[in-house]
């Protein structure tokens, strides 16, 4: 037995244009070990895996620092195909399967067994014909490794989700030289029983000497399955422990537990006694990847209400559903009036406004000037910035008023731009976010939904954006519902925070509650306690 670990990372660092995302990440992984990699969204897990795989985006942004050793040898992968050739396989969170192909065809995608014929000499190897019997045999062998049963000729489009996940894993296993398998949130889409089977299969693989990096938010699974747990936070390893010596609580605490500079959770308890301004009952929203099933909560006037939770658990769909952007059901009352669902205009006219998490997709008219971006919603829903011409027959756009409005917000929000007529696409992320905020403020809302306000913007802009939200809350009395993946951001700004887990509220706590409590709610430990609203 030699003692060289299968994989060794030595002080991996990476920055994107000066923005440090990984700092001095080192760990080792032995042969046949399962390593659990956990961390909040944005902690650097994905980037780390991208580095390991030699993804193009890493090279395009200036490469990485540090060394990767595989079997004791230094490796630098130029592309994912190099990594695959070296025996590393990865199963991504999204399925990467051909819907009209069978299990076998998918497992052997682009690695089919073929037979020679003469045309190969003239054209190329792709003129070889498929050897279906051989393919069947190889695929079944890979499936056997997992210790489960899969139908070889079932089409992916007709498979249950679990089968798809197994097909993906089998595809990686089918590589002859597979040594290391990275599983990114493999159980996220599975039912409980399917997840159990998968965990068992992963154990099987480890017993056969394949090392595994297992990324998951389900901490119970991690404790249950892994030999070792590595916790990433803000691009650095904050804990590295054998799984037996740690607990869900300990990991959860390590994942979160940092505070934002200049902000402290504060208690404004006296406000919470007033009649609610927003009342949400049994809301369900059908938003892909972010579904919520049954959510009820109330928001008090003047409050900043936070909604947190891990990615994919459904927090984003709450504002999107209430604002009519995705199909939703249940009932929503604003100031005692029922708000029509599935009708963006209805929600806007009721006095609510929304800053979308999808800034470039939903939030902005990228190829139109700033003033349009800011004034458009107000113009369409409230008939402002219009001049009646010919006795009101024509509602003429008042370009001067629009420009003045934009100028006002450019100054008050410090939007860095050349002027109101600059196209939105040319601004930086932070300034684009400010434009989105300006758009939302321009309709003079009584309640503002802000979704992931600081995602993808630099630190300076982050603070400005959060300050702005707080200022408008304090000075203009706008009630705010803020959705964010960053717990500390929520704790710093909000009065109360609801945590969404698996499409339901797992708990609502005042922001002054300990981070660990929220972290536990996030990873599913609130599921067993009755929901308090």
């Amino acid at each position: 037995m030699d003692n060289t670990p299968l994989l060794e990372l030595r002080s991996i660092t990476k920055d994107f244009f000066g923005n440090q995302v990984l700092a001095d990440v080192s760990f080792t992984l032995e042969k046949g070990q399962v390593l659990g990699l956990v961390g909040e969204n944005g902690a650097g897990k994905t980037t780390l895996m991208k580095i390991l795989f030699g993804m193009g985006v890493i090279h395009e942004t200036g490469g990485y620092g540090g060394e990767i050793l595989l079997d004791g040898e230094l490796v630098t992968f130029q592309s994912p195909f190099d990594a695959l050739a070296a025996g590393i396989g990865m199963v991504h969170q999204e399925f990467s399967l051909i819907p009209g192909f069978t299990t076998v065809e998918n497992i052997l995608l682009n690695r089919e067994s073929t037979r020679y014929n003469l045309l190969v000499e003239v054209f190329d190897d792709r003129m070889r014909t498929l050897d279906r019997d051989m393919m069947q045999e190889r695929a079944l062998k890979a499936i056997d490794l997992l210790g489960i049963k899969l139908e070889g000729d079932m089409l992916v489009s007709e498979m249950p989700v679990g089968h798809k996940q197994f097909t993906e894993i089998a595809r990686e296993l089918e590589r002859e030289n597979i040594k290391l398998l990275v599983l990114d949130e493999p159980t996220a889409v599975l039912t409980e029983s399917e997840a159990e089977i998968l965990i068992e299969a992963v154990r099987n693989l480890a017993n056969r000497g394949i090392s595994i990096i297992f990324i998951s938010h389900r901490l119970d699974e991690i404790i249950d399955l892994c030999d070792k747990v590595v916790v990433l936070r803000d691009g650095a390893i904050v804990a590295e422990k054998p799984a037996r010596q740690t607990s869900v609580e300990e990991i959860a605490e390590a994942m979160v537990g940092r505070s934002l500079e200049g902000y402290q959770p504060i208690a404004r308890g006296e406000r919470l006694t007033v009649e609610p301004v927003l009342e949400v009952k049994n809301l369900w929203v059908d938003m892909p990847g972010e579904t919520v099933r049954d959510v009820s909560f109330t928001v008090k006037p003047g409050e900043i209400f936070g909604i947190g939770g891990l990615a994919g658990q459904g927090k984003l769909s709450i504002p999107n559903g209430i604002m009519g952007l995705y199909k939703a059901g249940g009932s929503v009352f604003f100031e005692g009036q029922e708000v029509p669902l599935n009708n963006p205009a209805g929600a806007l006219m009721a006095g609510m406004s929304f800053v979308s998490e999808d800034r470039r997709g939903v939030g902005l008219l990228l190829e139109e000037p700033l003033d349009w971006n800011i004034a458009f919603t107000a113009m369409q829903t409230q008939n402002r910035f219009l001049k009646p011409v010919l006795g009101g027959l024509i509602k003429w756009r008042d370009d001067k008023a629009i420009e003045a409005l934009a100028q006002e917000y450019i100054e008050s929000l410090q939007i860095r731009c050349t002027g109101p007529s600059q196209n939105a696409v040319e601004l930086s992320g932070g300034n684009q976010q400010k434009v989105c905020l300006a758009k939302a403020f321009a309709v003079k809302p009584k309640l503002l939904f802000v979704s992931e306000p600081t995602r993808g913007i630099d630190v300076g802009a982050k603070k400005l954006v959060l300050d702005t939200i707080r200022r408008y809350n304090r000075e203009n009395g706008i009630t705010v519902v803020m959705v964010s993946s960053e717990l500390e951001e929520l704790r710093s700004l909000c009065d109360r925070i609801a945590i969404i887990d698996e499409g339901r509220i797992s708990g609502v706590r005042p922001a002054t509650e300990k981070s660990t409590e929220f972290a536990l709610l996030m990873v599913g430990h609130g599921r067993k306690t009755p929901t308090e609203v």
Partner: protein, 360 residues
Amino acid sequence: MAEKHRLRYNSMESIKGFIQKVGWPRIIIGIFLFALFVAAPFVEVKVSTSISDTLVRFGMNGILVLAMVPMVQSGCGLNFGLPLGIISGLLGAVFTIELGITGFAAFLTAVAITTPFALLFGYGYGELLNRVKGNEMVIATYVGFSSVAFMSMMWLLMPLKSPTMVWGYGGEGLRTTISTEGFYLHVLSDFLAVRLGSNFFIPTGMIIFMLFICLLVWVFFHTKTGTAMTAVGSNPDYARAAGVSVNRMRTISVMMSTWLGGIGILVYQQSFGFIQLYMGPFFMAFPAVAAILIGGASVHKASIYNVLIGTFLFQGILTMTPSVVNSVINTDMSEVIRIIVSNGMILYALTRVTKSGSRA
């Protein structure tokens, strides 16, 4: 010193900016057209006739090109279904002649009859396009083709009586070309027309009418609805989030485009002198598409400015190239040049990397 340097730098930048803004294809075509005008006198082509012809064609085709704008702006892509609008115009024309109205009244009647047809067709066409988002252009093309073929059957079957239109003896249905003479031939063109000598003529009335329609469209895009339409084309998700009904805006834009197509063909006929039925409208979308693209529009952005510049450049080339090239090499290559220039331009626009395809 530094100031001077800055100035130079700026002017370099502004030239670059100008090229970027105007785009290479337009600059090349513009220079080419200019060269043709310069070369014309040397090869004994009368410049006055050329300019006059260009202006006439500019006025004739302007509104047909304008019919692209609403649909492009609302994100429906290039209006390859222009024949549908043209058909509504043809219906207007045919019924007007059946009623036997003459003169300027005839033109107004034709516009009046065209309008309901155009709105009806446009509504159906718009509703259809709302169901095939992302594939509008190829479907629009075939909707145009099918409607032309369908109307060909209708022209045969329509029980119209006017002797100007039905075949004299032994024929069936309407004639393939019907003269507008005695009805509304040149009613716009001759209004305030300027004539200098025998070969220079400015169809003032027609150009004024065309500019007037352009103005209407321009005004529309400055209203609340017009602004919403532009936003829908720019980012449908943004517009929806702002409470705008995306499908409704798209339908309105298609109705507008169809109506403009109908009016456009009436203006065309009053200048050209003939109503072309049957397969006449079949390929009419392509020159209009090419013209607006030459004017600088893209698959998802177009303006009145693009219409005016594009129509002038495209029609200028169509007028000038044959006359100049023919007298140089004694060959009539106009048709081939038209095909290559117009389709080459469309091809260029389609293969430009645009994000509009990725967004539903």
